[in-house]
Amino acid sequence: MRAVYLPAAPVARHRPRRMSAGRVGVYAFLLTAALFFLLPLYIMLTTSLKSMDEIRLGHLFALPLAPSIDAWRAAWSTVCTGVSCEGVRVGFWNSVAIVVPSTLFPIAIGALNGYALSFWRPRGANVLFAVLMMGAFIPVQVMIYPLVKILAAVGLFSSLPGIVLVHTVFSMPVMTLLFRNYYLGIPQELFKAARVDGGGFWRIFVQLMLPMSTPILIVAAIMQITGVWNDYILGLVFAGNEHLPMTVQLNNVINTTTGERLYNVNMAATMLTSAVPLLVYFVSGRWFVRGIAAGAVKG
């Protein structure tokens, strides 16, 4: 081992103690923070499993006496979202229908943009990129009214293609930036070698760059899926009644003004709505970190 080569004279050093005061403090803080964020989840979960009679007792932190998934069932298939009473499942499938194309198109276009901007550098690329970045800083609200007018004029307002188009447009700056920065980290010589080998614009993109892009593709997918799924305002304005996403329907469930407030059903509906982003984070957390770190690692 390395110690063999150390000088014979003993060096004044000792093994660091396992638990120093600072370490204890850090763990205490982490534990408190974790509890702080987990507490609402705990209350939501237990409440959703209680009956309304039990909820009225007011023991907020108590575990359910007779756990039942009736509230979950009701939230999924029978709760009233405004006029219709078919549960949040309608919204779930609407959201799926919006999220899938709103993830695929922006990633495809963003990757292509990033690739073109970082390797081919067409004339005016920097100006284009600057304009795109400016778009990222303009609040969505400013653009809603003009966009409504434009989409209405071309007959896409209140339709699935309309909302997908809106999501695609609004995600373009971030997607482009993401892929551009990733591709800037790939040596130019690789691109030049492919050019000498006769690769054209599309071939280099499809056969060389995309296979190297797995980490960033996953990061982009995570960002798009969670972003589009969590969207409320764009869905409310552009999707139309037929395609209202789950978030909008959840709001309709919780804000009904007639009758009794079904806390257990509300909790279950909320958890159902947040299930997809949660699942995405749990499944892909490892990839997310890897994608972020990928920029710092030499290939």
Binding site: P187, E189, L190, K192, R195, V196, D197, G198, G199, M212
Partner: protein
């Protein structure tokens, strides 16, 4: 096989003119080395031959055809990069065959060419590996193989050995030279390493600041450098420079500097010397011979043993000279010694222009 002609080549990056009106002929089958410090434009010149940089003016002919605006793949070139630039998601075999597959070559011929190149470079056992599973030397061999399978008329090398350690570098250097001997293809090779230039080149092109300083066979450039820059750039340790004056009269020519007076009767540049001219005398370390009754004197400042020879740094007051001594004479720092100078091999430069006389 093909030559390359570069005519009045001008290249700009923004408003910065990197090359202006450069002319260069690469003969068929020669190993031409572009040598110079970083930023001298040698890589830019190579990349413009490859078609990877747009030219602002001039013309590039490859194999007698105007290729100034041709796509890199249409130029009949193969290229090897410093960073290997292997496609990380493809196996060695796929890396080497990529260009051929793009060109739509029949599978049987692709396999045959890859096999031949792999055999030449001893890559047979590695064909199914990914680049990340290879060592640096193996990676660069694959990169060379990828250029070879193209059966190109001209091979371009952009500092291909710079990322390798010293031992691998000399090993691959030898392989490259053998490869050139066997293939006889035209090769253009960029490096800042003078040893690579000396050992590999048929001709060396020394560049500085976007200008060609000298073109010639390695021996010529080494023995008869065209100016002070070339003289100082080649050789290790570098050429000794001594500033002084020339004294010429009818029957004698002498170089005089502080503490040094040399008879220039045998000097090749004797006839071009003018009385009173301010010159720089260039003296290679191997042209200083230690002799008991030598005409110059100095003290030993430092001795660097190199195994088969030793480099002796001689202190002459405000001047330090490096001398290469092949004898095993034991020399001590601080001791005084006398030495002679090989007059036939020395170079003289004008002090103002730096040009060879």
């Amino acid at each position: 096989m093909a030559g390359v002609q570069v005519r009045d080549l001008t290249i700009r990056f923004g408003s910065n003119e990197v090359l202006s009106g450069l002319n260069l002929d690469v003969h068929e089958g020669e190993f031409l080395v572009l040598l110079g410090p970083s930023g001298c434009g040698k890589s830019t010149l190579l990349h413009s031959m490859a078609g990877l940089i747009d030219v602002a003016g001039g013309q590039i002919d490859i194999g007698g055809q105007d290729m100034t605006w041709a796509e890199p793949s249409e130029r009949g070139i193969g290229m090897v990069f410093q960073s290997y630039a292997l496609y990380p998601t493809m196996t060695v075999e796929r890396n080497m065959s990529f260009g051929l597959r793009v060109a739509g070559m029949p599978r049987a011929e692709i396999a045959q060419r890859v096999q031949r190149a792999a055999q030449m470079l001893q890559l047979g056992a590695l064909l199914n590996r990914k680049p990340s599973q290879l060592s640096g030397g193996q990676r660069q061999r694959v990169a060379i193989g990828r250029a070879l399978v193209r059966d190109a008329g001209v091979f371009l090398f952009d500092e291909p050995l710079s990322n390798l350690d010293a031992q691998l570098r000399s090993e691959l250097r030898r392989e490259l030279k053998l490869l050139h001997q066997n293939l006889g293809s035209t090769m253009v090779y960029v490096t800042h390493d003078q040893v690579e230039a000396m050992t590999l080149a048929t001709r060396i092109v020394v560049m500085k600041g976007g200008q060609i300083q000298q073109i010639g066979a390695p021996g010529d450039v080494y023995d008869r450098p065209a100016n002070l820059f070339v003289a100082g750039f080649l050789g290790s340790p570098g050429m000794n420079f001594i500033e002084g004056k020339v004294q010429v009269s009818q029957d004698m020519a002498r170089f005089s500097a502080e503490g040094m007076l040399l008879d220039l009767a045998d000097c090749p540049a004797r006839s071009a010397l003018k009385d009173g001219a301010r010159v720089v005398l260039g003296l290679r370390p191997e042209h200083i011979h230690i002799a008991e009754h030598g005409e110059c004197a100095g003290t030993v400042q430092l001795v660097e043993p190199m195994g088969n020879h030793q480099v002796v740094w001689i202190d002459q007051g405000h001047r330090h000279l490096a001398a290469m001594v092949h004898e095993k004479t034991p020399l001590q720092a601080g001791q005084t010694l006398r030495f002679d100078v090989d007059r036939q091999s020395l170079s003289l430069f004008e002090q103002d222009s730096g040009l060879r006389i």
